[in-house]
Amino acid sequence: MVEQRRSGVWGRLPNATQRQYLKTGFIDFIPAMVATAVWAFVTGIAMVKSGLTESIATAMTLMVYAGSAQLTSLPLIESNAPLWLIFAAGFIVNIRFIIFGAALYPFFRHLSFFKRLVLGYITTDMVFVLFMKRYAESKQRSSSEHVWYFLGVVVPGWFTWQAFSLLGIYFGAMISDAWSLEYAAMLALLAILLPLVVNRPLIVCLIVAGAIAWVGQLLPLRLGLVLAVIGGVVAGVVVEQLQNKRKAP
């Protein structure tokens, strides 16, 4: 019994069925590979072009492993913003992972603390989309199928991201500043932002937060950023409630 528990999920090589799930995950991930690679490459370039040394950029990609939070932090680091603000901004941009985690954890609650920590830490947007598409309706939770499928998506995802991010870091360091490649970081953030804005409350949130952020630049301590987030959230929630009221009879 003890032996069986120890050999659990990662204690030994996967058996044939588990390899099958792993493979299914990998095959599902393949179409997303190009996007992951391009994204990682741009993020890598952006980090060195915003003035990070290659070693700090390498540490950042390996430890943080979150493109949007990394890109968000760059203008803040460049302007020497206080660390708490960098933390807060990174946290807010990562909030989507809290929502992903809330949906995913019922599938993995049977695992040990350490395994849940590792699985959670390497969760990506991609695995959330692919996993929920396949298993959201499934009655059975907490089976080894879920774990191996999940690994089949996130492990190649991690390697793809890190390889191309490192490529971007060392390639970016060689490219002349005249190309203004740091601007690609802004565009990458824009490309993360645009698909999120899918309805009217979110459009209003975008406009209100943008306006506050523009005028708020005149305030010290990047207070504009904090006010913009508060204003944007309030505006979004208010418009959503107004919409619901109008829909209700």
Binding site: A35, V38, I56, A59, M63, V64, S68, A69, Q70, T72, S73, I77, L83, I86, F87, G90, F91, I92, V93, N94, I95, F97, I99, F100, G101, A102, L104, P106, R109, R116, L117, L119, G120, Y121, S180, Y183, A184, M186, L187, L189, L190, A191, L193, L194, P195, L196, P201, L202, C205, L206, A209, G210, A213, G216, L218, A228, V229, G232, G236, V237
Partner: protein, 112 residues
């Protein structure tokens, strides 16, 4: 010399804090899901925060406005506007980056 030291610690601090962000937001529910309820109202409100934070980071980069000066409208915002239009037409996030860079380079060539 001491300034360099401080700057390195600052960068290292930023990396460690951001790594902490990743662990808390991603693994938080995996680890303590049974103990953290996430009410629907909170979940809905949380949808707006990332959008607000992202635009609040982007705007000062595209439309800088320093204290005691007039607001600047430069080629950065024009290129970004073009990229947004391209996104609306193509729905491709990759095209946002490609078209934005191309327009920026074009404008740089014209105005420099």
């Amino acid at each position: 010399m001491s300034e360099y030291w401080q700057y390195d610690w600052y960068l290292l601090g930023a990396v460690v804090l951001l790594a902490l962000c990743s662990v808390i937001t991603r693994a938080g529910y995996f680890l303590f899901g049974d103990h953290i309820p996430l009410p629907d109202s909170v979940r809905r409100a949380l949808r707006y925060a990332p959008v607000a934070a992202l635009i609040a980071i982007i705007i000062p980069e595209l439309l800088p406005w320093a204290q005691g000066e007039t607001p600047v409208i430069g080629i950065e915002i024009v290129a970004a506007a073009a990229a947004v239009l391209v996104y609306v037409r193509t729905r491709s996030t990759l095209m946002v980056i490609v078209s934005g860079m191309l327009v920026l380079w074009l404008l740089q060539a014209i105005f420099s």
